[in-house]
């Protein structure tokens, strides 16, 4: 809106002299042309790898190894192979898909549960020295997860969790909770503390205040963080690769990377698998984008 306003104002100034107006119109045309050119460049830049993915998935195995830049005889055969588990790398595809989903859902549940409890205790009940917990969360947030991979791998083996999806759930929860705590504490400030106090006066236990007042009030933040945790767990690769090596405990990204081990990869099947794997997070991302960005920026950037 404001841009239009400014443009109007600018043109009113410019209208004072004819030459100025002409210059202004010329500049405006050029700036439109520049914007369109930039948009074209951005579209090509953004879509090239994605186009490549779709193109290869639609090609037959022999057509992949040609100089074609579009699928000569596009077919959905590769997708059919993936859906029916018709290739030996894909024999447990739906089982692995289920593993990914299970890990994602469990990660969301435990992240929300653990992080909301600790946020409630620290910022609503004002636990003494609770800032230590906040700092622990911040520290975890800024340590790259991959740097802990080697010790965590050995520890998980020590806990007897090798090849167990619960080791992955534990890892994803570990790395999702700090951000969740961060968001919950920020968002919690917008909820008046008087609500808690009123409930306390009426004789509610801390658990009841948490469950009946805090959680419902936090719903938007819970949705934002839940989406974040789900995408984190679904997209993460390194820990799933290290800790899950059995075909039946594997997740989709690990199975996908396995294709690269063979000498002559069936690239069309691989890209079809990749697309099927990518669709759920993309759909969820676009569905919850509005809530996520408001969750991501609420309170924060406006200072």
């Amino acid at each position: 809106m404001s841009a239009v306003l400014l443009d109007n104002r600018r043109s009113r100034h410019a209208a004072a002299t004819g030459v100025k107006a002409k210059n202004y119109r010329l500049r405006r045309v050029w700036s439109e042309v520049g914007c369109l050119a930039l948009a074209a460049v951005l579209i090509v830049w953004t879509l090239a790898p994605i186009y490549n993915m779709v193109m290869v998935a639609l090609q037959s195995h022999n057509d992949v190894f040609t100089n074609d830049i579009w699928p000569r005889q596009p077919s959905l055969y590769s997708f059919w192979i993936v859906i029916t588990e018709g290739y030996w790398y894909l024999e447990y595809f739906w089982h692995q898909f289920g593993n990914s989903l299970y890990i994602g859902v469990m990660t969301v549940f435990f992240t929300l549960f653990i992080a909301s409890l600790v946020s409630f205790s620290v910022s609503r009940m004002r636990l003494r020295n609770g800032w230590l917990l906040t700092n622990a969360a911040l520290l975890t947030y800024v340590i790259p997860a991959s740097f802990l991979a080697i010790p965590l791998y050995r520890i998980m083996q020590g806990y007897g969790l090798g090849n167990n999806v619960w080791s992955i759930i534990a890892v994803e929860v570990t790395f999702a909770t700090p951000y969740a705590i961060f968001i919950f504490q920020q968002y919690g400030r917008s909820i008046p503390i008087e609500l808690d106090e009123a409930a306390r006066v009426d004789g509610a236990s801390p658990w009841q205040v948490y469950y009946k007042i805090y959680l419902p009030m936090m719903a938007p933040a819970l949705v934002a963080v839940g989406t974040y945790a789900l995408l984190l767990a679904w997209n993460e690769y390194l820990y799933q690769f290290l800790l899950l090596s059995d075909k039946r405990s594997m997740t989709v990204p690990v199975a996908l990377a396995q294709f690269l081990n063979s000498d002559e990869s069936p690239w069309n099947y691989m890209m079809a698998t990749a697309i099927i794997y990518a669709i759920p997070p993309v759909v969820i991302y676009y569905l919850f984008r509005g809530r996520m960005t408001s969750g991501l920026t609420m309170g924060g950037v406006k200072g």
């Binding site: 193109m55 549960f113 003494r128 969360a137 960005t293 924060g300």
Partner: protein, 305 residues
């Protein structure tokens, strides 16, 4: 800046008013027990999966001989140089373009909104599929890029990933920018949108437009956000495993590894976990100051990601 810092929010507030309040002036009896119990799950997760691995990692990599061994290894020397280039070029180029593009996406119009939806696609798609796609796209013989070069210009494209270290590293950096730029653009866009429009209108009256508008209003107000984003992005990028693994695979001949990938390679491909941990630990001189600055900046919560 009306926001109370997280750390202050965590401290018990002992004001005159708050003493009257039920939960503020220190918890008593069963309430204290409840509050502690609420923290137990998080503390357990933190101790088991963060604190213990850190201590264990430090113990694994405590032998100085490991560092001498690393230092003499030409592959490790290249890895350090690669990591520095990857961080310096990748993060800064990405953040700079994100800053410029966030200005572009402030424009009005349905097609700019639509473009933004397409533009965030690399961030929405998981890393693996697209990096594998880029890897194949850059194949010297059958990849899309060389096919286009041949079909359109009749040029034989080079082997992007398997002939030269610098080309492969460049491909990794470009892929990294492709994947991560949309996210930071959206963050900076949110930062720009929170700048009150009146400021620009006032500047307009005073005759500041274009570059001067950016230099005197947008940038001073975005500077802190930009700095925090850059630091945070640096530390995330330091731990980035997927880009190098799937775009170049560390090749040709192990020349494009970064610290995050060489550690995993040492630990699992050549079964030397102590060496892998030591390789990762060499990042500490960069990491510790970054972590300290970031914890200060994020704690006072002027920005949020």
């Amino acid at each position: 800046m009306a926001s109370v810092s997280v750390i202050e929010a965590g401290r018990p507030v002992l004001g005159r008013r708050s003493l009257l309040r039920t939960w503020r002036g220190g918890l008593q009896g069963s309430e204290f027990a409840w509050a502690l119990a609420f923290c137990i799950p998080y503390v357990a997760v933190f101790l088991a999966f963060v604190a213990y691995p850190i201590v264990y990692g430090l113990w694994l990599g405590h032998n100085p001989a490991l560092y001498a061994e690393l230092w003499q290894d030409p592959i490790f020397q290249m890895t350090v140089v690669n990591t520095i280039i990857y961080l310096a070029v990748g993060v800064n180029v990405k953040m700079f373009f994100a800053l410029l593009l966030s200005g572009f996406f402030m424009r009005r119009g349905w097609w700019v909104k639509g473009l933004l939806m397409i533009y965030v696609l690399p961030w929405a798609v998981p890393a693996l599929p697209t990096f594998i796609s880029i890897h194949w796209m850059l194949n010297s013989q059958w990849g899309l890029l060389n096919n286009v070069l041949w079909d359109v210009f009749h040029i034989d494209g080079p082997g992007w990933l398997d002939t030269s270290r610098w080309m492969a590293l460049g491909a990794v950096i470009v892929s990294y920018i492709w994947k991560n730029m949309p996210f930071w653009t959206v963050i900076l866009l949110a930062g720009r949108m929170s700048i009150p429009q009146e400021l620009y209108e006032a500047a307009e009256v005073d005759g500041a437009t274009g570059l001067r508008r950016f230099a005197h209003i947008s940038f001073p107000l975005l500077a802190n956000l930009y700095l925090v984003c850059t630091l945070l992005s640096t530390i995330f990028t330091l731990g980035d495993f997927n880009t190098v693994t799937f775009v170049s695979g560390g090749g040709p001949a192990l020349t494009t590894h970064v610290l995050a990938t060489i550690g995993i390679r040492d630990a699992f491909d050549i079964a030397r976990p102590d060496l892998g941990v030591a390789a990762v630990m060499t990042a500490l001189p960069l990491m510790i100051p970054l972590v300290l600055i970031l914890m200060r900046k994020l704690r006072t919560s002027e920005v949020q990601l």
